[in-house]
């Protein structure tokens, strides 16, 4: 079984982002960019399944600018076999990403697609579910455990009240939650090896997909700031403030 893992290049999770002065968006010039943390978990899962003999090949794909090659190389260094960059500048919405992934999953005859549950920049939490719909496949979102058994996968999902187990017929789409695994760090020899692994480039036009955004971002605003608080010196003072000043207890 071939596993396809989409990886997104996003602003690093340690970066405190700044707004552009004209309110048109977030200033990412010079910001450190990395692989979306959930996608590292997705790559790790696919590589472990290959190591366990449950998958034959791990193909990683990113939709984004030329620099997205860096996150693809990182995924290759973690153990993926080859990479596809679908080069697109500017805003590509989850629906368009899902359409691109659908084409590639079909042409690659993938048996499973593992994505991150959400990208930490736009926080959409959509792409995997949309891809499953377009392919007509079953889906298991927010996975914290995946066990293969014959033609199906037993997936444990993180849901609001706790955990849920579902059985998924293959082919299928899985989205990774935080506790699915702890991604490995690529070793130096593997980083060197990754440079020689195949990486092909395509464009959305090659695949016949229109990536024009459907949503119109009118502006991006600064969130409301909180009024600055105070330090209290004792528990008695704290409880007094909570009772009289804030009236919350």
């Amino acid at each position: 079984m071939k596993i396809l893992v989409p990886v997104k290049r996003v602003v690093d999770h340690n970066v405190k982002i700044r707004m552009k002065a004209d309110g048109t968006g977030v200033d990412l010039a010079n910001a450190k960019m990395s692989m979306n943390p959930f996608d590292e978990i997705a790559v790790e899962q696919a590589v472990r399944m290959k190591e366990a003999g449950e998958a034959s090949e791990v193909v990683v794909i990113s939709v984004g600018p030329a620099q997205a090659q860096e996150v693809l190389r990182t995924a290759l260094a973690m153990g993926a076999d080859r990479a596809i960059l679908v080069q697109a500048e500017g805003r590509v919405e989850p629906l368009a990403v899902a359409k691109i992934l659908q084409r590639v999953a079909q042409s690659e005859e993938a048996g499973m697609v593992i994505l991150g549950k959400q990208a930490i920049d736009d926080d959409c939490n959509q792409t995997g579910q949309m891809l499953a719909a377009l392919l007509g496949w079953g889906q298991a979102t927010f996975a914290s455990k995946v066990e293969m058994s014959g033609g199906s996968a037993l997936v444990t999902r993180e849901i609001d009240g706790g955990l849920q187990q579902i059985e998924l017929s293959l082919p299928a789409v899985i989205t990774a939650d935080l506790r699915l695994n702890e991604p490995r760090y690529a070793s130096l020899p593997n980083i060197m090896k990754a440079k020689k692994k195949p990486l092909v480039q395509q464009t959305p036009e090659d695949l016949g997909i229109d990536v024009a955004p459907r949503l119109n971002v009118l502006r991006v605003e600064e969130p409301a700031a909180r009024a600055s608080g105070i330090r209290v010196g004792s528990v008695a003072e704290l409880l007094d403030k909570l009772k009289t000043e804030a009236a919350v207890i």
Binding site: K16, I17, D123, G138, L163, E221, A246
Partner: protein
């Protein structure tokens, strides 16, 4: 045209997220139908019918819908979509699982986790862990929207119940099947809707110390218990306790953060709380930047002292 609200419920009862999402839906338009998809879900449908402002409740019952698995549930919503120009769901694990599938089947983009209705086609939604707010307009034929329930107050319960209409779901091939739910059992209020939340972080050090320190204060205050990702990853608390960008977003009247540093991903889940209290031994911890009341000290002294003094 009308609005369809895909409700969050467990068949036996309607979750408060649904009443909150109804408030958002009523800001978009006046004609709101609530869809209850489930099995043995008449109690949830009755609770939905009692909410003020509901036009009708659509009750679709089938074994395949009992746990609202994504594939049959999305197919059901698509079957009904022709009568609506907006489809709304609270951004719970169920809404987030099902609605993007609906959007793709309808070939429209979804608006995720909106926090404000600016106009029927324009919404505000947080991006970058709430460090920026995007104002987005959708010209799609059908607008598919998930709502961050912490940003809306629950719709009231009215006197006249709306009619409940039974819907026959089309049969679709089963691509997944339900095995079991392993739900965390506790008698405390629901984390997402509690008035007070007491949260613990990595500083708690073990599951035993987490429970021995956080739970008594929470119980004294009638509060829900939350946790940072670090505490959940370390096994001190269950996954559904996680507050943050990638956990639950809460906005209680009072949020007490105990031994939590205040990483942006954690702040994203609680910084809209009305009053924030931070207890941390490091006076420089970023959590103090959002706290209304900060106290520098050891949680193992301060938290029990609070509990005793209440």
């Amino acid at each position: 045209m009308a609005i369809l609200l895909f409700a969050d419920h467990d068949n036996a009862s309607l979750s408060e997220h649904s009443a909150r999402a109804l408030s958002a839906a009523l800001q978009i338009g006046a004609e709101v139908d609530i869809l209850i998809a489930g099995q043995g879900a008449a109690p949830a449908a009755e609770a939905a019918a009692a909410l003020t402002g509901v036009r009708r409740v659509l009750l679709a019952e089938d074994g395949s819908l009992s746990e609202r698995l994504a594939e049959p549930t999305a197919a059901l919503i698509v079957q009904l979509a022709g009568d609506y120009d907006t489809i709304v769901a609270p951004a719970t694990s169920s809404g987030k699982n099902v609605l993007p599938r609906v959007a793709a089947l309808l070939d429209v983009m979804q608006l995720s986790e909106v926090t404000e209705v600016v106009a029927p086609d324009t919404f505000k939604r947080p991006i970058y862990a709430g460090n920026a707010i995007e104002v987005v307009q959708s010209a799609e034929a059908v607008r598919v929207v998930t709502v961050r329930s912490a940003s809306f107050s629950p719709a009231a319960t009215g006197s006249a119940a709306a009619p409940i209409v039974a819907i026959q779901p089309a049969t679709v091939p089963a691509l997944s099947s339900f095995r079991q739910n392993l739900l965390s059992a506790n008698d405390r209020p629901d984390l997402s809707s509690a008035r007070i939340v007491v949260s613990g972080g990595r500083a708690l050090g073990s599951k035993e110390r987490f429970e021995a320190t956080i739970n008594p204060l929470a119980d004294k205050l009638g509060a829900a218990v939350g946790a940072s990702r670090a505490a959940v990853d370390a096994g001190y608390a269950a996954n559904d306790f996680q507050v943050g960008q990638t956990g639950k977003v809460v906005a209680p009247d009072l949020y007490i953060a105990c031994g939590i540093s205040g990483a942006i991903q954690h702040l994203a889940g609680m910084k809209d709380s009305r009053i924030i209290v931070a207890i941390n031994s490091d006076g420089e911890a970023p959590i103090f930047q959002v706290a209304d009341y900060g106290i520098v000290g050891d949680i193992f002294d301060i938290v029990p002292e609070m509990e005793r003094a209440l």
